[in-house]
């Protein structure tokens, strides 16, 4: 059995706004494995992003524990979390989040300049099929292209885990497939553990593992015996 990359025990997250309390996560116990392509599914507001953010060291839990390998994320201070994000994690967001004043290459360089053993920005962009757009500013790229730059930026440091929050959410089906293919290829070629949040149930067929979130907890975990290719996904 593959070794665990992440596991959590009773992760709880409560947001307080004024005197209203929102229980985003209610005691989640989850496991994610090395090299796997995992899909997080769930209704809007069910707590997917919250879980992913805690795993990525972007947010803290109200209670419970989370580990990356044998390191306890929930015990880390801000400085260690920064270190952790810098060394181990790649993020892809729904709205790309590119720096508008930097070109595609420079957006990737933002990461390669601070990473330990990065690939070159050119190579990263090559992997997502964007060699031809290397000196374009974000405003000069289509949505799908921007998202692929974001993926290139996320993988350029050869992260152990790639966390993607609705990477295809803002894209049409054709470009969405292109983005998924890029992610799938990286997962296969580099063995990067990949977690994707999506609302698109069709994507579950290409995952090793599908985790269903409902109302702040894990409702179901399915392990696929066979996976389909990204290009075969019905949108």
């Amino acid at each position: 059995m593959a070794s665990r990359v992440f596991h959590t025990e009773g992760i709880t997250k409560v947001y307080r706004t004024g005197n209203v309390e929102v229980h985003a996560l209610r005691g989640v116990d989850a496991e994610l494995f090395m090299g796997e392509f995992t899909v997080l599914l769930g209704a809007s507001g069910s707590g997917k992003s919250t879980l992913l953010n805690i795993l990525g060291g972007l947010d803290s839990a109200t209670a419970g524990k989370a580990w990356f390998r044998d390191k306890e994320l929930t015990a880390m201070r801000e400085r260690e979390l920064t270190r952790y994000r810098r060394d181990h994690v790649g993020f892809v967001f729904q709205f790309y989040n590119l720096v508008p004043s930097l070109t595609a290459r420079e957006n990737v360089a933002l990461v390669t300049e601070v990473a330990k053993d990065p690939m070159s920005p050119e190579e990263a962009l090559e992997r997502v099929g964007l060699s031809a757009r290397i000196d374009h500013f974000p405003a000069e790229l289509s949505g799908g292209e921007q998202q692929r730059v974001a993926i290139a930026r996320a993988i350029a440091k050869r992260p152990e885990v790639l966390l993607c929050d609705e990477p295809t959410g803002a894209l049409d089906s054709k470009t969405g497939v292109q983005v998924l293919e890029a992610l799938d290829r990286i997962n296969r070629d580099l063995g990067t553990t990949t977690v994707i949040i999506t609302h698109n149930a069709g994507i579950r067929a290409m995952a090793h593992r599908v985790i269903q979130i409902a109302d702040g907890g894990i409702a179901d975990v399915v392990v696929n015996e066979t996976r389909i290719d990204a290009s075969e996904i019905e949108w």
Binding site: N53, T82, R86, F93, N97, S101, L102, N107, E113, R153
Partner: protein, 787 residues
């Protein structure tokens, strides 16, 4: 270059107009610092070197006639390193081609050929030689004013004997770097000049052989001057000593010191205003940038950049702006310093002007500039650390508007919706609105503080030369005369009224305070010179007591009704108890007034006069001048009409420049604040405004919503600024107060209006620039961009 640095450069380029507006405000702060500190240091150094090299005296005293045999005793006073006795006299001059008489202060050159102290620096020719009755050496200012050089000649009346003298040389003196005649307040090099003649010649003319009437002392470094002055005073008392004074009261030095103090005040007061405003602007612009880029900041954090790296990135932006400001400030400061140097060369007669551009001054300017940029930045980048990456990545919640008291208040008035939006926006960010208003108000304050001086001068002239002094001229006598001499004066052609004035050097005591001044005699019925209170505009009679100038009363810590003691320096040691019967606000000198008869009773001497005040019939001016040039008893003349004219001219000259400079400075602040605020508002509310445009609002209506807020803030800022300006003016008046003069605190409506109009104009101009942006706003692209 690193990717983040590329972002930095592109950010600065994108924000160039705002960055430049901030940099310009900052530059002014740095410029004035560089200029004022640099000039102040150069001037101080020049003066100190000059004093050192020419052995400038530390203590001076006059006497009526003191024997030279006193010198060993004076030299033996503890701490005295050098003594020089000399003859100092005033004389009427008859200059070819000049109708009105000029006045000269004659100083003796000792037998050695060159004075040992206050050594004149020869510019041309040579010193006058012993025994040469017709040789005179001129001070440069006077020589230049008349185009005199060696070989030229004019007439001089020495103790009633008119003689033709020939110029042997031209020199500068450390005692007369700034030269003003007695009774004057402005240099008039045409009518008053310093000159030197051989000691034996002057001694013969003034009957002072083997004697002196002026003495200068040099002390060893670190000597306490007070005991030396006391000892000197005691020695000279039997010989009509006029009371020793030191450099603080020496006129030329006091004026230079006044100039240095002004530069100091300028360097300390003005730059901070500009630096604070620029810090505020940096804070505002950077704060907005961080709000705009919160997702990018969140992203950088998600990518593993630490807080420190991200904070440093934004600090570099402000440092960039700071650096641009410092560079501009350095350049402008450099130029301004040399302009100032030229002005000083014109006003002050130094043999050389040590005008170095000091690296330390530039370093201080740079440090202050960068510090304020950093300060402004630090207050806004604090937010970066608090921004959690997960929150930063999600779009900000719509700004929460609350129904507070302020809101209820504005809804009560039921304004139209656009006005409602303006008022809500102010109520939502009250601190920002207050700071913006404060920033704009400083612009108005600077104008008031910069220009009120002219109002004060106007008042001063009115009081000193119209209300209090109504004579056309003051005639000085070489030696004290009895009152009967007034008949002779009135017999001079053209003299319509003549009144005598008597002064007696005296020391006033109260508790442990004391002050050496000249008590002026007051004669009931005199019309020409009034003991006049500037504030109340009333005459004050000394009656049986003494009336003090307010600043003198402050020095002595006395009020009307208190008793003080008066010792007449030329009479004896007796301290007479005298009651203070009143105080008057006066702007020149430290005066005290007593009734003539009362003075005579106290001192046991009949009132005698040193000066006569006269009213002249203009039709006989020429005849009068001729008569005065030939009159043996008159050693000097001050024409008040000339003093007034000189003063007016000097003020008019500088008024234009000052007005331009301060208008420029104030406009810079107003534009910097208003333009940046408007740009930030535009960036924050672009979507809202674009939506309104799509809903069918006109450009004018939309601009009103955006600029209306700034309009309101400016309206609030103006009275606030006028008030702050008044406070600054009052503080300046207080800090410029000296023994020589004080200025009345007057700010006229004209100045207030000027300040208000400049600020309103500058605000309007910046609003219009931003208005053009609103007009050209591309609705589609604004709506498409996500915030």
């Amino acid at each position: 270059m690193r990717a983040l640095d590329k972002k930095l450069v592109r950010d600065i380029r994108r924000l160039w107009a705002q960055s430049l507006a901030i940099a310009a405000v900052l530059a002014v702060g740095v410029m004035i610092m560089v200029m004022a500190f640099g000039t102040q240091r150069s001037l101080t150094e020049t003066r100190d070197t000059y004093y050192e090299r020419s052995r400038m005296a530390d203590i001076w005293s006059g006497a009526q006639r003191a024997p030279k045999s006193l010198l060993p005793e004076i030299a033996a006073i503890e701490g005295v390193a050098r003594v020089e006795a000399r003859i100092s006299q005033f004389a009427i001059l008859d200059i070819p081609g000049m109708d009105d008489p000029a006045m000269g202060q004659l100083l003796s050159v000792p037998a050695g050929g060159v004075p040992e102290m206050n050594v004149p620096v020869l510019r041309e020719g040579r010193f006058p030689e012993m025994g040469k009755e017709n040789e005179v050496m001129l001070a440069l200012a006077f020589a230049e004013a008349h185009g005199f050089g060696p070989g030229d000649s004019f007439a001089i009346t020495l103790n009633g004997q008119k003689r033709e003298v020939v110029v042997t040389g031209v020199a500068l003196s450390p005692e007369f770097i700034y030269t003003i005649g007695p009774g004057s307040i402005m240099p008039d090099d045409q009518r008053f000049g310093v000159m030197w003649m051989a000691e034996d010649v002057l001694a013969a003319a003034f009957n002072l052989s083997g004697a002196f009437n002026s003495i200068t002392l040099g002390v060893t470094r670190g000597t306490d001057l007070a005991p030396v002055k006391d000892a000197l005073e005691n020695i000279l008392k039997p010989y009509g000593g006029t009371g020793p004074y030191d450099r603080e009261q020496q006129v030329s030095n006091a004026f230079i010191q006044g100039e240095l103090d002004q530069l100091d005040v300028m360097a300390r007061v003005v730059p901070p205003i500009f630096l604070v405003v620029s810090a505020f602007l940096v804070n505002m612009v950077l704060g907005r940038l961080i709000t705009l880029e919160r997702e990018q900041i969140g992203l950088l954090k998600a990518l593993g950049y630490g807080d420190a790296e991200i904070v440093w990135h934004y600090l570099k932006l402000s440092l960039g702006i700071g650096a641009i400001g410092v560079l501009i400030g350095w350049g402008a400061g450099y130029v301004l310093s040399s302009v100032m140097a030229n002005i000083y060369v014109e006003y002050f007669k130094f043999p050389y002007l040590v005008f170095m551009q000091r690296p330390s001054v530039y370093a201080i300017g740079a440090a202050a500039g960068l510090f304020s940029a950093m300060l402004g930045a630090l207050l806004s980048v604090r937010r970066i650390a608090r921004l959690s990456p997960a929150v930063a990545m999600s779009p900000p919640a719509p700004t929460r508007f609350r129904r507070g008291i302020f809101d209820r208040l504005i809804t009560f008035f039921r304004p139209r919706q656009p006005t409602m939006m303006i008022l809500r926006s102010i109520g939502r960010w009250p601190v920002r609105a207050a700071l913006t208003s404060f920033g704009i108000s400083l612009s108005a304050a600077i104008i008031v503080a910069g220009l009120f001086m002219f109002d004060s001068f106007d008042e001063l002239i009115d009081i000193a030369f119209v209300q209090a002094n109504r004579q056309d001229a003051i005639l000085d006598f070489a030696i004290p005369r009895p009152e009967s001499v007034l008949d002779d004066i009135e017999n001079l052609p053209g003299v319509m009224v003549a009144e005598g004035a008597l002064t007696m050097p005296a020391r006033l005591y109260h508790e442990h305070y004391s002050r050496t001044i000249a008590v002026e005699g007051y004669r009931e019925g005199n019309r020409l010179v009034r003991v006049f209170d500037g504030n109340e505009r009333v005459d004050v009679k000394p009656e049986h007591g003494i009336v003090l100038a307010e600043r003198l009363a402050d020095h002595l810590q006395v009020r009307t009704g208190d008793m003080i003691e008066v010792e007449f320096l030329q009479v004896d040691d007796t301290r007479h108890k005298v009651i203070v019967t009143g105080t008057v606000s006066q702007f020149f000198g430290l005066s005290a007034y007593m009734d003539n008869d009362n003075l005579a009773a106290l001192t046991g001497r009949a009132p005698q006069m040193l000066m006569a005040n006269v009213v002249i019939d203009e039709a006989f001016e020429k005849e009068l001048y001729q008569a005065i040039k030939d009159a043996p008893a008159i050693s000097g003349i001050t024409l008040l009409s000339q003093v007034r004219r000189g003063f007016d001219e000097t003020i008019k000259e500088s008024a234009g420049i000052t007005l331009t400079v301060y208008t420029f400075l104030a406009a810079l602040i107003a534009i910097g604040v208003v333009y940046n605020s408007a740009r930030i508002q535009l960036s924050e509310r672009a979507r809202e405004l674009a939506s309104l445009r799509i809903l069918g609002f006109t450009r004018g209506e939309v601009s009103y919503i955006l600029l209306g807020e700034l309009f309101i803030l400016t309206i609030v800022a103006i009275p606030l600024g006028l008030w702050i300006g008044y406070g600054m003016a009052a503080a300046m008046i207080e800090s410029f107060k000296s023994d020589l003069y004080a200025l009345p605190l007057i700010v006229t409506d004209k100045t207030y209006w000027r300040a208000a109009l400049v600020v309103a104009g500058a605000s309007l101009a910046s609003a219009l620039i931003v208005r053009r942006r609103i007009d050209r706003m591309d609705l589609v692209s604004v709506m498409k961009t996500r915030e």
